[in-house]
């Protein structure tokens, strides 16, 4: 080894390993590790790669269903969507890099998740991004929003994969620790799925894609530590993305996959060459020998340590059938990508790494996976918040509505999505701004509905109910466009698991997810955990982001939020008790973050949703779920999307008015149906045991003939005025 570095206690500590973990390494190896081995252990045993704090809890999540082909544990999850088509999808966090270098952090987050999907043989067809920023007046927020959004756009747009949905929210708990959760959805054929298990000995291990450089070294370890004032000095550990190379890699991999030359393939993501080689050998029950001199290198004098830990982007590792190297090489050369046979699989169950003729690492592959530490961290479950909430019953509702529509969380996110190419691939049949995006399965009438959801303020107030709500809302959003929800992916963003209260949020959150996924038959098939989202001791709101995928059998029977006709009856499906606790209304209008998070009745959720989906299949074309901001916000969104007004006829006692229009009760939908059909639908609802009421009509106008939103106790406001306030905030804010 050139210039060997001694493994001293300080060096061990710098690698994020504690004394007990180091002792275990010595025990597993039967000797002290080399510096290369220490580096390998440090990344593979990092929280990011090993899930050491969450693994015992994650086991409780439901991950199977008859339509699930691949659950967690592979590069991405896979579900059957009929006719030999499968959907491959996953969401992953890139929080820490995006805070340090927002453009590259977000861009490589998108690139990484796309590789996870196409490494399984799928062509990515949709990209989604769930983003959480600090409060708008924090000095860093504007810069972070601009950088993250343009980073996501630059990568996805060049790849030619439409970015179709997501979320953008703001809260002070993210001031020093933003969240960037990127989801990718792909399509493959059921008989052309590729896995990462490198079965068999003597098979060539090939390296394809970009050359290896010094970027991203110890990214996985960085993502497993909390932030402090020095974190920005970690900028060199953020990787740099090259979407052009990724596009070539995508096409080259799919071309190679059309042959039968591949035994196993995995992308080099977090912990690069280390994790891809050891995980492939581990899953295949084999061993692996690699020679680092064969690795294509971007810089001279890279050490073995640097090569093993580099997180240079746009690289893949594949194990081929013996004798197929030339065929594979020809494809990668056509796409002008590096291709190199860097080693072979073995039957030794060991990972052996050579560099300049010397063995620099020689370790059992299971030492990096099964033998990784698992912690049963102590936790305390905080009592959920509760109690009556206070509000001023006589506050003018229309004024409040206008204010809500211009808040950072409820305003139009057009400024964001217009920077993403959401129409490329010519299959985006439901575009950003609705409840869920719908992407047509190319060449068919089927559609995939996808969305991302979570309401972190509910999760803070009640981690268990909040997590249930995240799943229920994703399920509801897919239902609202007419999709049958099939499966989810999750990004579990929490703070420091070494603090019992934070660990309590993680445990309760995972339990809530599990319960909701079980009852709604909406299993979790992939995902990741992002812990230590904390800066100088301040944790983020618990944010278990859920990415949902559902199936529309026929995209011609799809609902959107926009009012389409004047004179339609507006129907409210679901029970409205007027739950104002933890609502946007309470926070933005009364300045209070109090009360209980809304309870989620999963059986009711299912009953109401199944009823709504049935109506859409029978022809109902205008549906919106009621979420943040409550009923009046939802009506306003439908009016703005369609450019058609509405009149609401509900009459209430004075103290019921605000809760009715702004409460955030769950399991509710609005729909607009031709007035002549309303009674039949109400009767059908009654028969199904679903609460439904006729609350108004579309098409209200003022004296000048302008579309207005109005009603009893709701003085008319033109739809144009609603739109103006809804659209104004974000572009104005970004101007600075």
């Amino acid at each position: 080894m050139n210039a060997p570095v001694a493994v001293t206690p300080e060096v061990v500590k710098d690698h994020g390993l504690n004394d007990a973990e180091y002792a275990r390494i010595v025990e597993l190896l039967g000797r002290a590790p080399t510096i290369v081995e220490l580096g390998i252990f440090s990344v593979m045993w990092s929280e990011h790669c090993s899930y050491k704090s969450t693994r015992i809890h994650l086991k409780k999540l439901p991950t199977s269903a008859p339509w699930v082909i691949q659950g967690p544990g592979e590069n991405a999850g896979i579900i059957d969507v009929g006719d030999g088509d499968v959907c491959v999808f996953k969401m992953e966090s890139h929080n820490h890099p995006s805070f340090i270098e927002p453009f590259q952090g977000a861009a490589t987050g998108v690139g990484g998740i796309m590789r996870d999907v196409f490494t399984m043989g799928a062509r990515p067809v949709a990209s989604l991004d769930s983003l959480r920023f600090g409060e708008p007046n924090h000095p860093k927020t504007r810069h972070l929003v601009a950088g993250v959004v343009s980073g996501i756009g630059s990568y996805g747009n060049c790849m030619g994969i439409p970015t179709v949905a997501g979320e953008t929210n703001f809260h002070k708990s993210y001031n020093g620790n933003i969240l960037v959760n990127a989801m990718c959805v792909g399509l493959a054929k059921a008989d052309k799925i590729f896995y990462s298990a490198a079965k068999g000995a003597g098979n060539p291990v090939v390296y394809v894609g970009s050359k290896t450089g010094r970027d991203g070294i110890h990214g996985a370890t960085m993502a497993s530590a909390e932030f402090n004032e020095d974190s920005e000095e970690k900028r060199p550990t953020v990787q740099v993305g090259d979407p052009f190379t990724e596009k070539l890699l995508l096409e080259a991999c799919l071309e190679l996959m059309a042959t039968d030359a591949i035994i196993a393939i995995q992308d080099m993501g977090a912990a690069g060459l280390t994790s891809s080689s050891s995980e492939m050998a581990d899953k295949g029950g084999s061993g692996i020998e690699i020679d680092l001199d064969k690795v294509p290198q971007r810089e001279t004098n890279l050490t073995a340590y640097e090569m093993m830990l580099s997180e240079s982007q746009e690289r893949m590792l594949a194990v081929l059938k013996p004798g197929r190297e030339a065929e594979a090489e020809r494809i990668f050369k056509k796409w002008e990508l590096d291709f190199s046979v860097i080693g072979y699989t073995t039957d030794t169950h060991r990972m052996v790494v050579r560099h300049k003729g010397e063995i620099v690492a020689d370790m059992p592959v299971t030492a990096l996976s099964d033998a990784a530490p698992i912690y049963e961290r102590p936790f305390v479950k905080r009592k959920p918040t509760s109690g009556k909430v206070s509000f001023e019953a006589s506050r003018p509702a229309m004024e409040s509505l206008l204010r809500l529509l211009s808040t950072p969380d409820l305003c139009s996110k057009r400024w964001v999505w217009e920077q993403y190419d959401y129409t490329v691939m010519a299959d985006s049949v439901q575009q950003p701004g609705g409840d869920a995006a719908v992407v047509r399965v190319h060449g068919t009438d089927k559609g995939l509905a996808c969305c991302t959801d979570v309401t972190p303020r509910y999760c803070k107030a009640n981690p268990f109910e909040g997590a249930k709500q995240a799943v229920a809302e994703a399920w509801r959003n897919i239902t609202a466009v007419g999709g049958l929800p099939l499966a989810t992916t999750d990004c579990l963003n929490f703070s420091n698991p070494e603090k019992p209260e934070a660990m309590g949020e993680i445990v309760a959150g995972i339990e809530g997810l599990g319960e909701a996924c079980r009852v709604l038959e909406f299993p979790i098939v992939s995902g990741n955990c992002s812990l230590y989202n904390e800066t100088q001791g301040e944790g983020i709101l618990p944010t278990p982001t859920i990415g949902g995928v559902g199936l529309l059998k026929d995209v011609h029977k799809m609902a959107t939020v926009a009012f389409k006709r004047e004179g339609d009856a507006i129907l409210l499906i679901g029970d409205t008790k007027g739950h104002l606790g933890q609502s946007v209304y309470l926070r933005e209008i009364e300045g209070l973050e109090e009360g209980a998070a809304p309870p989620v009745d999963l059986k009711l959720e299912k009953k109401n949703g199944d009823f709504v989906r049935g109506l859409i299949e029978a022809g109902t074309d205008t549906v919106h779920d009621i979420a943040d901001g409550g009923l009046l916000v939802a009506v306003a969104e439908m009016a703005m999307a369609g450019g058609i007004g509405a009149v609401l006829r509900g009459q209430f006692e004075a103290d019921k008015f605000i809760p009715f229009y702004f409460g955030e009760d769950q399991a509710r939908y609005l729909m607009a149906v031709p007035a002549a059909e309303a009674d039949a639908i109400l009767a059908k609802a009654k028969k199904a045991g679903v609460r439904a009421r006729h609350i108004g009509f579309t098409g209200a106008k003022n004296d000048k003939g302008e579309a207005v939103l109005t009603g009893v106790g709701l003085p008319p406001v033109t739809v144009t005025a609603l739109k103006a306030t809804h659209e104004a905030w974000l572009p104005e804010y970004m101007k600075g």
Binding site: G160, F244, E251, E418, M425
Partner: protein, 222 residues
């Protein structure tokens, strides 16, 4: 009508263009790889949207130097129709098959949205099925669509009826000179435009305003 779509390594609307062409003409276009130096015998060559060679230099600059573009240029000189969409338009200016240049959008951001256009010129094989002054909506999706040329060139383009599409008044998405969205060459057989007609040939995608372009081409080219 026989057509071909040129595929650069990072073209990403090649499939969209091929699907639209096949739907409307009933025949699959030939896909021509960028490293080839010949274009087969066709009536229409489409340069699709995307990022050609990554476009880390000026958009289309490297594509402008490619083998295949030499062949496309030769064909166009023989009268073969060439349609450059988005990145294809950028490549056409870099190849000097069309005048002017496409700069970064004036607001410096990528913009994707349904875009209202006015059909200015119908005396072309590409726009013969549209009405002069007709308002159509095609999506735009680009970071560098800000068309720039000197006044003399712009006057000439307008004077010769070579400005085919303009962004609707007040809706210019990128700062382009005189709201120009698409232009013809002198021989009127090469059209470059930033908006995407191939993405609006299916009612499910938000409209069919793009169909008339391809239908007009079939009528004219058989």
């Amino acid at each position: 009508m026989k057509s071909a779509v040129v595929v650069f390594p990072a073209s990403n609307c090649d499939r969209d263009a091929a699907v639209a062409l096949e739907q409307i003409t009933g025949t699959k276009p030939v896909m021509v790889w960028h490293a080839d130096s010949e274009v087969p015998d066709v009536d229409l060559i489409v340069l699709p949207g995307g990022f050609s060679y990554g476009d880390y230099l000026r958009c289309g600059a490297m594509a402008g130097q490619s083998n295949i573009m030499r062949a496309v240029k030769e064909k166009s000189e023989q009268g073969v129709k060439v349609l450059g969409i988005c990145n294809g338009f950028q490549v056409l200016t870099e190849t000097h098959m069309l005048p002017g240049v496409l700069m970064k959008n004036a607001h410096l951001k990528f913009v994707c949205r349904p875009q209202a256009l006015e059909v200015i010129e119908t005396q072309s094989v590409f726009t013969r099925k549209y009405q002069a002054g007709q308002r159509v909506v095609f999506p735009v999706a680009h970071g560098e669509g800000n068309y720039v040329a000197d006044d003399e060139t712009l006057d000439r383009l307008e004077g010769e009826g070579r400005v085919v599409f303009k962004y609707a008044p007040g809706e210019n998405p990128n700062g382009s000179a005189r709201d120009i969205a698409g232009i013809l060459n002198e021989k009127r057989n090469v059209l470059g435009l930033m908006p995407h007609p191939e993405r609006v040939c299916d009612p499910l995608l938000g409209g069919t305003d793009g169909k008339a372009m391809f239908e007009g081409l079939i009528e004219a080219l058989g």
